[in-house]
């Protein structure tokens, strides 16, 4: 096992070992019949996220989206699995790579695509762009690009809920690099101190831009062990298995909801495309093609589809119809965004303060 994989969770190691074995086919345990409906809806949720992101990638070169974009293609199971374990009124926050979290939480697609186009109809009125997403109606209370900065803010959401006696769970989505920031540790300490109803969902995709784990974290402990050091309950597993993610997140949400305090969830996964932008970047040398292919064989969508097929629960015709409907929805969102007005120049300085 390459050294830089050593500090990823056991699930990542397992997943890689599985993928690099001769068969190149991941394990596909059968789905219990009680979960077939859930599995079908997770598959649909992941497919929708991927189709949206692929549409963004395809259209990026038109230069209508003039902002950085960070795609989660390959990592859809984490967003879909965690959000499916939440209630509609639960809250979530994220960082620079947040499209999947926003969509899985029920964020408005039209408003997201319009925001990426810098339009007045965007979820931030054109002020934010791809790295600044918010949809309060969906319980998605914000994503911003400064790594780690929404971790304490999400902790504050949970703090306020607890103070006000509101029965709700908050999820803070974060990447592996965010666990290196001071605010991560400060937040976990506070959350555990006050037994806050929050789940820290860490997608460990092994890289921070082009920096592998090996230059950032010791290989003698896993990320979830840091959280355990703060006294948090921790769970970790295969982040490319949507059903497994859902099971872990449901468990986490139940204990957070029951007042048992914060839970840390580490999900092993992998980003397929370049860190920022629509392209591919295996050729620049920070990661190997072999590693990429191993993870690609763990495609969360293909895996779940195969398991449903094996369980004779995959309806190819219905799926094709659904995909077509999603594509129509996406095309409409792009068309609407491209036709939408830009924010008025006179509105430039609006929203710095509450209106007088």
């Amino acid at each position: 096992m390459p050294r830089h994989l050593a500090s990823a969770s056991a699930a990542a190691a397992l997943a890689t070992a599985t993928a690099t074995s001769t068969a190149m086919t991941p394990m596909t345990p059968s789905i219990p019949s009680a979960q077939l409906e859930l599995a079908t809806s997770l598959l649909r949720s992941m497919e929708r996220i991927r189709l949206v992101e692929e549409a963004i990638a395809d259209r990026y070169s038109r230069q209508q989206m003039r902002c950085p974009v960070h795609l989660s293609i390959g990592q859809e199971a984490a967003a879909a699995g965690v959000c499916a374990a939440l209630r509609a009124d639960d809250l979530a926050m994220s960082g620079h790579r947040s499209h999947a979290h926003y969509l899985a939480k029920g964020g408005n697609l039209d408003a997201m695509i319009a925001e990426m186009h810098g339009r007045a109809t965007g979820c931030c009125g054109g002020r934010g762009g791809s790295m600044h997403l918010i949809d309060r109606a969906a319980g998605f209370l914000g994503a911003v690009p400064i790594v780690g900065s929404t971790i304490p803010i999400a902790t504050g959401l949970a703090f306020a809920d607890k103070q006000r006696g509101i029965q709700r769970v908050t999820v803070a989505f974060l990447g592996d690099a965010a666990t290196e920031e001071g605010v991560f540790h400060e937040s976990l300490n506070f959350a555990q101190l006050h037994r806050l109803p929050i789940i820290y969902a860490c997608e460990n995709n092994l890289y921070s831009v082009y920096s592998p784990m090996r230059v950032r974290q010791p290989d003698t402990r896993a990320i979830h062990q840091i959280a355990a050091g703060h006294g948090l309950r921790t769970l970790h597993g295969d982040g490319n298995d949507a059903l497994a993610v859902h099971a872990l997140a449901s468990d986490a949400a139940a204990s957070a909801r029951a007042g048992e305090g914060p839970v840390f969830l580490e999900l092993a996964t992998y980003r397929w495309r370049e860190h920022c932008g629509p392209g591919w970047d295996n050729h620049i040398g920070y990661r190997t093609e072999e590693e990429y292919l191993a993870w690609r064989a763990l495609d969360p969508i293909a895996r779940l589809q195969k398991r449903l097929t094996d369980a004779h629960a995959f309806d190819a015709t219905a799926y094709a119809t659904e995909i077509k409907a999603i594509q129509v929805e996406i095309d409409r969102a792009f068309a609407a965004a491209e036709a939408a007005p830009f924010p008025a120049n006179a509105s430039m300085a609006d929203h710095v303060y509450a209106a007088a």
């Binding site: 990026y60 902002c67 054109g126 965010a178 921070s208 082009y210 950032r216 932008g277 830009f342 430039m348």
Partner: protein, 354 residues
């Protein structure tokens, strides 16, 4: 005579690093991505291959802690340079930089020294938005104990970076991303540009334009346009904000009597305010007109390209300000955007993302 060698600003930065790393084993570079395949916008590319990953090192995403680590290393005999791809990320380290490093020599009675450089990139365009675009030079320039430099040319970038690394005090080195691809004459080998004196980028007698960093480029373009109308502007490149060479500005104002300050930051409580205050205090009698500031509108940076165009001041805004201080009628042509120019791109070849 052979023409001087021309290289890019980014290459000049890399050369400064290579020069210092080769000359002094106590120099180390740390920062997210300094040793990655993109080499920090090309400014550190492959230096880790030449000097080893122990001296050119990537680091955890931990700006606050790592600034303290760099400070400790500086106090203990090394010359660390800590690098941030956006100034916004460096804000996480304000305690270690401003409250610790900047005070260290003073509060320990002059017995200590802090040869630390914090390098941060500022930028604009292509949706940098509210959290990837801040030009907070005035924050750092406000702090006694820090030196703050913003070179505008490849020559100064190399010479001032070497001077910063060799300096025994903490230096904040700020680069505008749009300068990186610009080329200019850069001497080979070791040389320094002192941290302090301004540079007269262009001589003139009608008005003084004091500009910083990328705004020097815009100021020079404005001066070109004005020269075509017979208005000779002096462009002073305020390449060091602290220590601030007030004297050279005062002398220029005594020659021209008029002042426009161009700063790619907000006006309120900014460097432009400091420059105008300095002139007002020391050379009020030289001023024939009220000075003017060309700065950002007083709101965070909007991401939409439609607003970015109105947000970032450019040569036309400077030319318009010069007309005002000269009491000339406004010229609608000042703010026209030439066909094909996209104001959220540093150069026509750029297609995003940053």
């Amino acid at each position: 005579m052979t023409p001087p060698r021309e290289i890019s600003y980014a290459a000049a930065i890399r050369e400064a690093f290579a020069t210092c790393l080769a000359r002094d084993p106590s120099v180390v570079l740390m920062g997210l991505g300094v040793s990655d395949p993109k080499g920090f916008f090309g400014t550190t590319i492959n230096l880790h291959l030449e000097f080893g990953e122990d001296r050119v090192m990537d680091m955890p995403c931990a700006e606050a802690g790592m600034t303290g680590v760099a400070l400790g290393a500086a106090v203990n005999g090394m010359r660390p340079v800590i690098n941030h791809q956006r100034l916004d990320f460096a804000l996480l380290s304000m305690d270690q930089l401003c409250t610790q490093a900047a005070k260290w020599r003073y509060m320990f009675g002059g017995k200590e020294r802090v040869p630390l450089v914090m390098r941060a990139i500022i930028g604009r365009g292509w949706g940098q938005g509210p959290q990837h675009s801040q030009s907070l030079q005035s924050w750092f320039a406000h702090i006694p104990g820090l030196k703050v430099v913003m070179p505008a040319t490849p020559h100064d970038a190399k010479g001032m970076l070497i001077a910063a690394i060799e300096d025994d005090d903490p230096v904040v080195f700020l680069e505008h991303r749009w300068l990186h691809h610009l080329t200019g004459p850069v001497p080979e080998g070791h040389y320094t540009v002192p941290l302090g004196p301004t540079r007269t980028a262009r001589s003139g007698d009608k008005v003084t334009i004091a500009a910083m960093s990328y705004m020097v480029i815009e100021a020079l373009e404005a001066a070109d346009r004005l020269a075509a109308e017979g208005i000779e502007a002096e462009v002073i490149d305020v390449r060091c904000l602290r220590p601030l060479d007030r004297e050279s500005l005062i002398q220029s104002i005594w020659r021209t009597g008029r002042l426009v300050v161009a700063d790619g930051a907000w006006a309120s409580a900014g460097m432009s305010a400091e420059l105008i205050a300095s002139i007002s205090e020391s050379a009020f009698g030289a001023l024939k007109a009220a000075p003017k500031r060309v700065c950002l509108p007083d709101c965070p940076t909007p991401t939409s390209p439609s607003l970015a165009a109105d947000y970032y001041p450019r040569a036309g805004h400077i030319a318009a300000a010069v007309r005002e201080v000269l009491d000339l009628p406004p010229n609608d042509a000042d703010l026209l955007v030439p066909a094909g120019v996209e104001l959220d791109k540093p150069n026509p070849a750029f297609t995003g993302p940053f």
